[in-house]
Subunit: 199 residues, 2 copies
DNA sequence: AACTGACCGAAATAAAAATTCAGTCATTTA
DNA sequence: TAAATGACTGAATTTTTATTTCGGTCAGTT
């Protein structure tokens, strides 16, 4: 019963945050959708922020599952990293909540939205960092600071997808993939199982 | 005399834009500093924007001179590119006008400030692009799209300097230099005159 | 004891009033 | 009489005031 109510509230909150964003979601709104008195919400969550973090945590787990599935695949390492980045950004641009938060940050600048997106980014960086460390332990990668490496990988991928489009026409996926490999992986990979096109 | 007045106006405007930014600089202010009637300004410049662009053009030229000086130096190519990026960002973080415009964009979001900074960035990208094209012609570089290359170089450098500092403690200059080389140049340089530290 | 929703006031938003400033143009100056 | 000026205008911004919204509480209900 208590658990049931908790779930009702979380589901209602998730729905509302995804639909209206952080700011435009009111506690009254959540209570109404959950068919629960507003006060009841405060039995389970200290405040709006805590409730939101519960939802966010679920999203982070969801993202990690996707990445885990990818890194379990039997593929060359650089291919895996590329695909994790690809799926992560894809995830963010498909998931309603992430979408809504980006829009909210852009349009209204809600600090909570910014923090949430930073958290998502930070989790991704930590994930990639661990992957790189593991690859280094397996000697698939040159030694180096995995934090710097993951950061650069993320920034490079982001540059080629999001940032590039602010100045020029979008690059097609093959070009991005090729460029990502050519200008980055080639420089740090110890073994190079990828075929260079020219010469 | 006419030329004298024009110069007076430009100098006054440059001073005021650098001191107060675009928005907070008034035409009355400029006229007062230039010791000229406000109407006189409109004899030389159609409007505030045109006057501002005149100043901006001077700044762009200034930046190009610095870059030209750098690329005239007798240094390995990757070293030159690194130093041009370094000086360009340094320039932007030292030049009063550029500084003020960044602040204005951050605090008030003046569209004109944004446009001006984009213009500065765009000019830098074009400059690097030309340098890369020239290096490719001299066979110092692998063939590739110089626009993508310049964009990535810029983004990589920016990531290591500006963006990194938003999440972590700043990297020291040697680390940045080494990383810039290790993770990027190594991947596209045909000849590698740089000594790798490890192994 | 678990739950509820009317209620509170801080904070956000909207409306109204006051001010600023780019650009014009009739007047002055040399 | 051409060049220079600065008082003037109204659109846009800023400041002030009025109104509404909403997170959180708690007295009352089930």
């Amino acid at each position: 019963m208590s658990l049931d109510r908790r779930k009702q509230i979380i589901d209602a909150a998730a729905k509302s945050f995804a639909l209206f964003g952080y700011k435009a979601t009111t506690m009254d709104q959540i209570a109404k959708i959950a068919q629960v008195g507003k006060g009841t919400i405060y039995t389970f969550f200290a405040n709006k922020e805590e409730l939101f973090n519960e939802i966010l945590q679920q999203v982070i787990l969801e993202m990690k599952h996707i990445a885990d599935r990818e890194s379990a695949e039997q593929r060359p390492f650089h291919e895996k990293v590329f695909r994790i980045l690809d799926q992560a950004l894809e995830f963010r641009s498909r998931h309603e909540l992430a979408m809504k938060l980006s829009q909210e940050l852009r349009d209204v600048g809600t600090p909570m939205a910014k923090e949430a997106l930073n958290r998502l980014e930070s989790e991704l960086l930590t994930y990639i960092e661990a992957q790189l460390q593991a690859a280094m332990d397996r000697s698939e990668l040159e030694q180096g600071d995995p934090r710097i490496m993951s950061f650069i990988m993320y920034q490079l991928y982001r540059s080629l997808t999001t940032e590039w489009n602010k100045l020029y026409e979008p690059l097609d996926k093959d070009t991005i993939k090729e460029t990502f490999y050519k200008y980055f992986m080639k420089g740090i990979l110890r073994v190079t199982p990828y075929e260079s096109k020219d010469e």
